[in-house]
């Protein structure tokens, strides 16, 4: 299956206008090295298409491969509960080698979050269900590894550097409107 079953919706963290003409959804895992490699590429794409792109990041942690991935995803949601999803998303990808519980709390401190609340969210696994829901939804859309991108609802195949993603999103440079 190559179609995204759930379009960007209220449950999603979205960078850019939600109704933007170009929609990019990533299923990712904060401990996955390929997702880490994709992070700056997506940043480049976001800058290039500012105002025209809605980018949503969804969780697809694979704890069998990445033991800290599930809690890191919940940490991003705990930050989101305090309105700071994207800042935490950046910190997690920039510190992929340090995603243990202590490190996660230190990132919450660095962002000036209410640390007690953040810690309670993690201890009580308050965001576990949401992460699981996104994982299952991804599995049903045929996500078979991370990162998996969907461009305007269609699965993106092949490379995911900024040029390849931009080409998939808005066409080859020669086809793009000036």
């Amino acid at each position: 299956m190559t179609e995204l079953r759930s379009p960007i919706g209220p449950d999603d963290h979205v960078a850019g206008p939600r109704d933007a003409p170009v929609q990019l959804v990533e299923y990712g895992d904060f401990e996955c090295p390929s997702c880490g490699a994709a992070f700056p590429e997506v940043e480049t794409v976001r800058r290039a298409l500012e105002g025209r792109l809605a980018f949503a990041f969804r969780h697809f942690p694979l704890p069998q491969l990445h033991p800290h991935a599930a809690l890191a995803a919940e940490a991003a949601e705990a930050a989101a509960a305090q309105g700071r999803f994207w800042e935490m998303h950046r910190l997690l990808f920039e510190n992929q080698e340090a995603l243990g519980p202590g490190a996660l709390v230190s990132y919450a401190e660095a962002l000036g979050l209410d640390v007690e609340r953040f810690r309670t969210d993690l201890d009580e696994r308050r965001h576990r269900q949401k992460v699981r829901r996104q994982f299952l939804d991804g599995a049903r859309s045929g996500v078979n590894g991370t990162p998996t991108f969907f461009v305007n609802g269609q699965r993106h195949q092949g490379r995911f550097d900024a040029d390849a993603l931009l080409e998939a999103l808005v066409g080859a440079p020669s086809e793009r409107a000036p």
Partner: protein, 196 residues
């Protein structure tokens, strides 16, 4: 040289009675080579009777695409079990190799060894790659009576994901509910299984 993207073989299609098999599982790895494998460390088609089953054939332990494929199946195992299914992985690796792989990857379902005679079960299911000497990357969903309900084979370098299996198990559950009512009706004549 085997071609990783060569046209894959044709797996047994829906409606075919699943061929019998009896393979040692990863649990047999506690025994040294040559030691008789006790009854409870084999898995056979008969063991699966009465519930749907998912057979995950894959080329080899410790290879990149297989690792991610099995990790996703392992992660989604609770949902597959909630649909009543049992999940088994099958490759031509030995049980000792399966043991190391299962431990390293924390796999939650048993891996079976189609090691000796090599590839015999995979061949019966139409998913043995003779040129490469490994299983295809093939998936089978069997119904509770041991008939192939859905099957699929993917190129060696392509992880099929779990969406096809989930959908097949859901359709199977729906059919069982619609056609159910005590006593449980016997299976339709063979060859009339759902098409993928």
């Amino acid at each position: 040289m085997p071609d990783p993207v060569a046209q894959p073989s044709r797996p047994l299609p829906a409606g075919t009675p699943a061929p019998p098999f009896r393979l040692p599982s990863v649990e047999a790895a506690e025994l040294p080579p040559g030691h008789p494998v006790p009854h409870d460390r084999w898995r056979s088609l008969e063991d699966l009777a009465g519930a749907p089953a998912v057979l995950v054939f894959y080329p080899a332990d410790f290879t990149p695409v297989c690792g991610e494929e099995l990790a996703i199946f392992s992660e989604i195992l609770p949902e597959l079990e909630a649909l009543g299914a049992r999940v088994l992985g099958i490759s031509v690796d030995s049980v000792w190799c399966h043991r190391a792989y299962t431990d390293e990857r924390n796999l939650r379902f048993p891996l079976l060894s189609d090691f000796h005679p090599k590839g015999e079960t995979s061949r019966r299911y139409g998913c043995y790659r003779e040129d490469a000497g490994v299983c295809e990357r093939a998936l089978f969903v069997l119904d509770r009576d041991g008939t192939v309900f859905w099957s699929s084979v993917s190129p060696m370098d392509e992880n099929p994901g779990v969406d096809g299996v989930l959908e097949a198990l859901e359709r199977l559950g729906q059919q069982a509910r619609e056609g159910s009512g005590p006593p449980q009706p016997r299976r339709e004549p063979r060859g009339e299984g759902a098409r993928p």
